[in-house]
Symmetry: C2
Subunit: 341 residues, 2 copies
């Protein structure tokens, strides 16, 4: 099949690779209808994570079940499905505890920017879109459910966003924007999005941000606290993963608040003394996508949320190298890739 590979930082190719094959009876193969580029794909692209030359890349997709293993009971070829980036059995203790991203049988989508993707633990992982192939106008929103929207949602859950409360979102990537949307759905009354980029500010406002702060660092944090009566937020969503972003997140948290963090940590040193002095907590990690999927799918199908707005560029999958460039250079918030076939 054709799929996206990375050969070195900056070197993204769309080329022939071996077809995925069912290796366990619980596996399924999904024919990709649409994939996309994740902010975390930019870490290896920028050389900030190691690269295994020639490896496929891409972990977000929606598609149609092509083939299932002998033990897959709930899905059959032809089903239109959302593929969570992290696969889970949805039965182990971690899954039952709501942390499907720490499943005993954890797996990952590895060719979501290709023609086909292998899914481990198909019954536990996949969620079908009922009624057959959905309106293509819904593809963008459905695609966000494989990672970025549940990840923003997880930041809000981890930060304990509550109805009538206040929330700050640090990071204006697609995850941060989805965090704004999540906080809005959860009923936060004041939502401050920290964003310097006009097109992202616009999406943030459309998603429910009541305030936008463009300043960063100490000054930005002070500006945010001013908006929040000088006290800080009840809940803070850290959607970047750097030490600066975490520092800002903790600085804008009111005493007793939680910071929910979902960006893969790169160089974060948690300031335990400062956290202790102000009783500010942190919790986060990979989103348990499967946990949130049914609820989020319903919200999309009911027209209550349109997270697909995070895609401001759609390219044919063959142009994936340009998709990475556009995101790396911040010319695009997030790029959707339509399948070649």
């Amino acid at each position: 099949m054709l799929a996206t590979t990375i050969h070195a930082p900056g070197d993204i190719r769309f080329e022939e690779v071996p077809d995925p094959v069912l290796s366990r009876p619980t596996d399924a193969v999904v024919k990709v209808v649409a994939g996309c580029v994740c902010g975390s794909d930019l870490w290896p692209y920028r050389g900030e994570n190691p690269v295994r030359a020639g490896a496929t890349i891409g972990h977000e997709c929606i598609g149609v079940v092509e083939e299932v293993g002998a033990e897959v009971r709930d899905f059959k070829p032809g089903d239109f499905v959302i593929v969570p980036f992290c696969h889970c059995d949805n039965t182990c203790a971690a899954c039952r505890g709501g942390v499907q991203s720490a499943c005993d049988n954890l797996g990952f989508t590895t060719s979501g920017q290709g023609e086909y993707a292998l899914v481990n633990q198909a019954d536990g992982s996949l969620v079908a879109v009922e009624g057959g192939a959905p309106d293509p106008a819904l593809h963008a929103a459905l695609l966000t459910l494989s990672d970025v929207m549940p990840t923003g949602w997880h930041a809000a859950v981890s930060a304990r966003v509550r109805e009538g409360g206040t929330a700050v979102v640090v990071g204006d990537g697609a995850v941060g924007l989805c965090g704004v949307l999540a906080a809005s759905v959860m009923g936060a009354e004041t939502i401050v999005a920290m964003s310097r980029h006009e097109p992202r500010q616009e999406v943030a406002r459309a998603f429910g941000a009541t305030h936008v702060v463009a300043t960063r660092g100490r000054e930005g944090a002070a500006e945010v606290r001013d908006i929040l009566d000088g006290v800080g937020a009840d809940a803070v969503l850290e959607c970047v993963g750097t030490d600066d972003a975490m520092g800002t997140a903790i600085a804008v948290a009111r005493p007793g608040a939680m910071v929910g963090f979902v960006g893969v940590p790169h160089g974060i040193e948690l300031p335990v003394r400062r956290m202790f002095e102000r009783n500010v907590g942190v919790q986060g990690g990979m989103a348990p996508v499967r946990r949130y999927l049914p609820e989020l799918l319903q919200l999309v199908q009911d027209g209550r949320i349109d997270p697909g707005r995070v895609f401001d560029l759609t390219l044919p999958m063959a142009d994936v190298a340009e998709a990475y460039r556009a995101m790396d250079e911040r010319r695009a918030i997030k790029v959707m890739l339509s399948s070649p076939s």
Copy 2:
């Protein structure tokens, strides 16, 4: 007045110092009926915190109001009161948010092991024991309400202990034991106390521990997880403050759990990657004593809890140096000091 002072590590004296005086109209002076030694007093005693030679020490006490400032409305001389170790106005945003320990007008008891203690923000801080001087048999339990019991409670609140859940308490000092009691009152079904010391194990069991694990480090953590179906606890109370204790706490947490930490951090480096991989969160800090005091006082007065059991030695206040020695050498869990007058 006579009060306890520290002159150097290991050098505790009971000697004449200036009487406390009302310096602000919101202050009160309390004549101490009983004080005690806190685990955190041992940090300077052991030279692990700096010592200001000749400074008074001791921040836990109960007593009788001696004198109040012009703006104190809710208390009058003769009232029997519990003195939270951290003083608060109980009206600022932090206090309204339930974090009285981050009050805009934060103060601390500094001569709780002396004849008199100054209380800032008397109206916001103090809680009266209704009905005049309580039965001396209740003094021990009431004294715990000035710090150690609300601190154990705060660990349980921060760890999100819930009815029917599982909890692990790391640390068998008086705070850890109060954490066991808190988890029990909150309805945790399985409570594992990590303790190597027989007398402390006994109190832990009396306070509601269903299991005691005496092993420490990696092996201890493995033993705890075995008890908890190999998965780990829903809630972990870290009641020590060292990096080892925090490491153990995170190791025994199930994916998605919270670690509540209340020991003043000494050398803790939070393992952010490990926390991220398992979605284990941390929150904690100084206990907002005033927030929990009314509820805990009621539990004591109703005979539902007897946290006074953490005191296994009572000495006249003049023997305070021996009290420190007994705790430092772990001959006593916690020492109560009865007032000289």
